[in-house]
């Protein structure tokens, strides 16, 4: 943490670099306004349960703790074609339907095993829309997790300024890696 504060100070001393990019004059402001969030609060809540099923809270934070569903929602809003967005809405409905048909419960009230089964059913389904819905949500969930501040600063040796490159150091043994 100290290091990050130092970094921010350094950045500030370089002229307020931590301000979010405005993309200068090269890109029109308008083009940068995020597209309207397209999921309803209920749909977003269901998305949160799905991301949590993919990466649950264990002895370390899970997807909901890290607000990964918000990242997934934002990515789908801003970066994907309307067809893909529509398929995500359909996929959420499908997950909910499967929960009701199979377990007579909402997805949110299913237990972990039941939820995993629903999502795995979708993953291996011959319906390409089900499969691509799940693949997209899973890929984005993992992307959000693996690039989160939490993951990078706690589980990798992420540093903005390593200040060095050593071309040849002993590799950690598998045991050492596991203990880390």
């Amino acid at each position: 943490m100290k290091r990050r504060v130092a970094l921010k100070n350094l950045a500030l001393s370089f002229g307020g670099l931590m301000a979010l990019p405005t993309w200068a004059e090269n890109w029109s402001e308008q083009s940068l306004v995020a597209v309207q969030a397209y999921l309803t609060p209920d749909q977003e809540a269901l998305l949160a349960e799905i991301t949590e099923t993919i990466l649950p809270t264990t002895d370390t934070p899970g997807a909901k703790d890290l607000k990964i569903h918000l990242f997934v929602h934002k990515m789908i809003s801003d970066c994907y074609e309307p067809e893909v967005q529509a398929n995500v809405v359909k996929g959420l409905e499908t997950a909910e339907q499967l929960a009701k048909q199979t377990y007579a419960k909402t997805f949110a009230t299913c237990d972990t095993k039941q939820r995993e089964e629903i999502l795995t059913t979708m993953e291996i389904s011959i319906d390409p829309n089900w499969a691509s819905f799940y693949k997209l949500v899973k890929d984005l969930t993992l992307q959000g997790y693996l690039t989160s501040e939490y993951y990078l600063t706690n589980h990798t040796n992420y540093k903005m300024i390593p200040g060095h490159f050593y071309g040849c150091v002993p590799a950690p043994t598998p045991q050492a890696q596991l203990q880390k």
Binding site: M18, V35, L55, D78, T112, K138, P162, G163, Y166, A171
Partner: protein, 571 residues
């Protein structure tokens, strides 16, 4: 009234004009202002001030809203750029030229990579810097392609030293006759797999070497670098976002602020140069016409000497568009070769592999550099069925492998416990293409860009010589990788269009004979003595070295000559 006009003309009059503020224009600005000339630097794009205008330089991965991906709306507005490699992402898209900014016509496919802002491509380049040798300068004379260069290595050597010391180039003294040593700061470190491959090459081949790349990074800054306000490279390897430390050489961090300090530089961004004004009566160029990018107003600026540094193909465009009754086909184009003999480097082929030894070793940190295999084909004599040769890059490292299968707690465990993978290695070719009359650019007679400037038509393509070279590279490197014990070897020909190779050159070539070239040995127009072209357009042939260091040396040398000639009253 009469007085007013004279004052207005005075305000628009400078000692020198430099067109473009990129790698070569930055040097022209520094040298000319340093010699006391009031210099106007015209730049078509917006200003990019060192540090202040690098909005993403210090962002952490999680601070990018879309983790690097470009939002759909912006991609839709820029379909051409978004298909291009690399630079069009959330961290660097503000340095990318938008579709529509300068449409051009591809009679043959050409991926024109540009950087339109103060600093040009000096913010975006990969910073590899090697000198040429006489094997390169004598190449055309020996093989009979292009025309003979009007200079040799000894003419440029002191100027290489001059620019290297200021820019800060790291490297080793390798003692290779075909890749002369320079004024080096300490080299960056090789990884174990690089060092291993270097030894393997030395063991199996007499004629090949691998060396540590020579790159424009301050590994150990000297006084002159601190005076520029630059500091040691921190190995962040985020260089294309702009470096707050000035760790690598860019016009923004180095030459332009230096020129500004003299008080002699006027930098005018948003100034799209339309053409150079030639005065038939005076028999010289008197200034330039500029379209103000914001108001679209046409302005004129005047000067005694003009340096054209708009980057190779834009320099061609400006000169082709500079017509007068004396030069109906473009400024200085008595020979008719203007726009022709465009050449570039062939980056089409690459090869990757894995290495499952040295598993007890890895690397730590990041490096902005890689290894380099200088040209080994046809160096001392013609020995293959293609002309010239290729250099190659090489780099290797180990990554963490994360198992992304499954779901739930097990999946999370896997992500939290990645395992160190094998070494991944790769190499990419940088081949010399032969300048040919049939590779050329012209201006369209009717189509214009948003500034009313004719659109450029591209007719540049690979030829048989390039195809043979690609084959040879892939064969030789497959053999070298096999001998080194690498596995899973994957040779690839990307089939990318010219232009993707980012090192375009020629069209305004140097030569001894005004009948077959545009520029003399001082980068001065044979037919219009106060115009100098010192960017890639001047190149008679292309060699295999990354070109920008040579543009810097040419620029400093030509500026020195130009000012001396001015003082003697010759121009």
């Amino acid at each position: 009234m009469a007085n007013l006009t004279i004052d207005a003309v005075k305000e628009m009059t400078f000692d020198a004009i430099v067109i473009g503020s990129g790698i070569s224009g930055g040097w022209a600005a520094k040298e000319l202002t340093g010699k006391g000339l009031r210099t106007l630097v015209l730049e078509r794009g917006r200003d990019v001030k060192h540090v202040v205008d690098y909005p993403t330089a210090n962002l952490n991965p999680w601070e990018f809203e879309h983790r690097g991906q470009v939002p759909l709306e912006i991609r839709k507005q820029n379909p051409i750029e978004s298909q291009k490699r690399g630079l069009f992402n959330e961290a660097t898209m503000h340095f990318v030229v938008k579709d529509g900014e300068q449409p051009y016509i591809e009679d043959k496919p050409f991926n024109w990579t540009r950087g339109y802002h103060v600093g040009g491509k000096s913010l975006l380049w990969a910073r590899q810097t090697q000198r040429w040798s006489d094997f390169d300068f004598e190449g055309p004379a020996r093989d009979g392609f292009a025309v003979d260069w009007p200079i040799r290595y000894k003419d440029l050597a002191p100027w290489y030293s001059y620019v290297e010391k200021f820019a800060g180039i790291s490297g080793n003294k390798d003692g290779l006759p075909h890749l002369p040593d320079g004024e080096f700061l300490p080299a960056t470190e090789m990884s174990c797999v690089d060092a291993y491959f270097k030894d393997q090459i030395a063991k199996h081949y007499q004629d090949r070497q691998m060396i540590q790349g020579r790159c424009a990074h301050l590994t150990q800054p000297k006084e002159v670098h601190y005076q520029q306000g630059r500091a040691k490279c921190q190995h962040r390897a985020l260089c294309v976002r702009g470096c707050p430390f000035g760790g690598y050489f860019s016009s923004n961090a180095s030459t332009l602020p230096w020129a500004a300090k003299t008080g002699k530089m006027t930098l005018r961004p948003h100034s799209v140069v339309h053409s150079i004004i030639y005065d038939d009566k005076k028999g010289r160029a008197t200034g330039v016409r500029v379209v103000d990018a914001n108001t679209k107003e046409m302005l004129e600026y005047y000067a005694k000497i003009i340096f054209v540094n708009a980057s190779a193909l834009n320099t061609n465009l400006i000169l082709l568009n500079s017509t007068s009754s004396r030069f109906e086909n473009g400024l200085g184009n008595d020979s008719g070769v203007l726009g022709k003999y465009v050449a570039f480097h062939n980056y089409r082929a690459r090869i990757s592999a894995q290495f499952e030894s040295l598993m007890d070793k890895t690397t730590d940190g990041k490096t902005p550099n890689h290894s380099y295999i200088p040209r080994f084909r046809n160096v001392h004599k013609q020995e293959t069925d293609f002309l010239r040769g290729y250099a190659a890059g090489f780099g290797g490292g180990r990554g963490m492998i994360k198992n992304k299968e499954g779901i739930g707690a097990t999946l999370k465990e896997q992500l939290l416990n990645p395992v160190l993978g094998p070494w991944n290695v790769s190499s990419w070719m940088m081949g010399e293409t032969i300048p040919k009359e049939s590779n050329f650019v012209t201006l369209d007679k009717t189509l214009k860009d948003p500034y009313g400037i004719p659109q450029m038509r591209f007719s540049v393509a690979f030829d048989d010589n390039d195809e043979k070279m690609i084959q040879d590279y892939l064969e030789q490197f497959t053999e070298m990788f096999t001998k080194a014990g690498f596995t899973n070897i994957k040779p690839v020909d990307s089939k990318s269009a010219p232009g993707s190779d980012i090192h375009e050159m020629g069209g305004v070539r140097m030569g001894k004979d005004p009948k077959t070239s545009i520029l003399n040995k001082w980068n001065q127009m044979h037919a219009c003595k106060n115009v100098f072209v010192t960017d890639g357009a001047c190149m008679t042939s292309t060699a295999t070295q990354n070109p920008s260091l040579t543009y810097m040396a040419f620029t400093a040398r030509a500026a020195d000559f130009a000012v001396k000639e001015m003082k003697k009253g010759n121009i």
